[in-house]
Amino acid sequence: MSYLYGGKILRVDLTSGDVQIVPTERYATKYVGARGTNARLLYEAVDGTTDPLGPENIVTFGTGPLTGTTFPGCSRTDVMCKSPVTSLIGDCSFGGDWSAELKNAGWDHVVLEGRSPHPVYVYIRNDRVEIRDAGPYWGLPNYEAQAAIRADLNNPNYKIVSIGPGGENQVTFASIHSNIGNSGSRTGIGAVMGSKNCKAIVVRGTKGVAVADPEAFLEACAEAHLHIRGTEAYAEYHEIGLLADELAYVRCGIECGGDAHDTAPSFDDKFDYSAFWKRYGYKRTGCTGCPVHCMEAYNVPGVGATIISCELYPQLGAELRNYDERFWYQMVMQCHKQGLDNTSVATILQWLMTLWELGIIDESITGGYRMEWGNREAIEGIFWDIVHRRGFGDNLAQGMKAAADYMDAKVPLEKRGGKSTYYHAMQVNNNPMYGIVGRFHGQALAYSVGRRSDLISDLDMSEFLIVSAPVYPIWDEATKQAYTESEQAEGLRLGGTPEAADPEGYKGKAALVHDMGMTIGLPDTVGTCKWHTKFLYMYIDAPHYAKALSAGLGRKVEPEELVTASLRMRNLERALECKMGRRRENDTIPEKEFDKKVAHGYWKGKLGTSREGLERMKSEYYLIRGWDLATGIPYKETLQEYGLEDVAQDLASLDMLPERSESETAAAMKDPSLAHILMDEEERRARGAAKSEAAEDVEKRAPEVEKAASA
């Protein structure tokens, strides 16, 4: 067995029932693992013509070299397929205890191919792999199905990832779910698993993960653990998770559900998550091998027990103006159980409520539901109609575009104000957006160029902090000031101009978004949690991963190698997305969102992203990435630089490979407003790999801040 890796990729052909074993080495040398290897596996399997819900699509579950080890956050699995939502790359990742178990069984990746003629689950116990009948579990919600499988196997140690009725019924935005509260929700992975008639993957592993130099590895991991535990952010998340964050986002107007809330009464503090946590929370919990414990375990009498964290708070609650906390909680739990993406459900409901408010739709469209804000009957009714694909729910289950087409056919043009109902949909490439608005410039760019038409992986957290710091609930003035200043320094360092950190500015935002995408690529390839990076201000970075990998693999791994692998992966993904039809014009936010001011909270009446501003940020971003300014396709030179010659050839054979034009670059360089981003590539790499100065600053200042707070 090779060090840190299980050494094997499991390919399961559900059509024939054949199982194939591929050495991980074939991919890992270049792509490291997890999302990197997944991207390559997907590139080899699908293209623009693949039907996302057809047997030719694949679903690949991937762990990385640090998954299942003592490195903090070792619990992530990245999952990829072609998405039935966007028809581009579908990608999500989930935590919990499944990933480490798969690694312990000696497998790095599991690839599902084909389509089983009847419901099955994949059973893995170390080297033993079976395709078993899932008839008795088909139709069961996630929690119940997993409990039943464990009971039938008579062993609670099996770790399971499964789909609920939503996935079985191929609702395009269905999720996959592991244990309690660990979802891989976005881009419809659950629907693809459902299309393959695969209910679950059940794993037990006792083989462990081999380490080349245990002592050095333990030291590297200990360092990372203590580094995390020394950050301010840890102290907060360890105690109350993201409760304060969520409230801050509401207060500053980020989490307003976009357009839908322009007409809403202010809901600041109407839904106090902290009070809910104090009342019903019974335990903090988290994933295998993580010191943070960012999730809240609740038990609400009469409703039941589940686990909630992060974005789940506002979506089906305040964003729908649903302030009944017990009802909100019940809906979140049903999303887990039935296996639907909470975000998509909330954004679709919000869309319908907007259309209702504008008088565009009525009961004849919705199957009798009155889509008034916060209407419990409507929320519940539409949810169950989607799960079971009844009536209008069937149209919604096919995604926003399909539902819009249906409504457009029914509602006369003049009633729609001369526009399609799709105009009102908060979506990027048909992917329902988070409640987070694109009116903050960095977020607008992240939505546009985000790798799955979603902002979360390329989020500009620096901007997030700057806009939310003034209203952060648990900070005093000194702390607010300290954080704002450190992020301004970070903006200047990465963007090369103070404007990069100014919420009103456009210049330099691309560098911040690019840097976050690159940083997140690191844990995504080594198979750990992105929250430990600067993403959530815990600042685990390339040197930490490199140190652990060097000790674990028994060969020197340079931080720069990992940064390069992250950039290589993103270029590969982009090339595949372009093969699937993505171009510069697809990198955008909803048309109606342009020039809209923030409607609520601290930033009320300010900001708003202009079309020109977004195009400008995109140009900067493409220049940094080495993508063609006209089409957004990676240049031949860029692909070659990252060792993706075969991909370049592939694109060339499709007649879509752009070459870097000297005149274009020169023109860009002459534009003084773009000069700051055209820095030396080497400098950029070194900057990415070096420990963030801002991180050091925050750490250095921590005692002062604490002193100030206590005084």
Binding site: N104, C221, P291, A297
Partner: protein, 189 residues
Amino acid sequence: MAGTGVIDASLKIVCAEGREEVPEHGRLLVEPEKCTGCRTCELFCSLKNFGEVNPARARIHVVRSQKDNIITTVPVVCQQCEDPLCMAMCPAGALSRNQETYAVVVDHDACLGCRTCVQVCPFGAPSVDPRTGKSEKCDLCDGDPTCVKFCSQEAIKFVAAEEESMTRKRDMVDTYLEHLRAASARGTV
């Protein structure tokens, strides 16, 4: 800041707040109500003792129950009994008391792998190593337990034997007071 510390060259966490120096003849004090079930203890235990990361070989196990989706996690580890049944019942005499650490330790050469210790232990704390087939149990890492250092919840502590019961009592009083405060804030008291 809660839970901070630094590591010195020997990987001992020093100056962690509220943590005493490594006591002589210490015992592991487990407080299940603090455990979140992250199994970091299992991972580090196996790395330290076997040079690989493998929870199945760890000498501490976090047992998880999730009846009605309510999660309860209890770290199960040898209590180093005063009068250990495993030691008394071992047909090979493979178990003995290490007088320095006061831990009950296994002589792997003598161990038959008969599983008697697993069966007679009231906690089921010893395990049979899936790789070697021999008995494995906590030996307190020669008096400096690794798991304790990485438990961010401080659900496992290493405390002086004579202080163990008082430590637990004090912690329970703290928990009680916390509940009382919460209840009074809610107005239910």
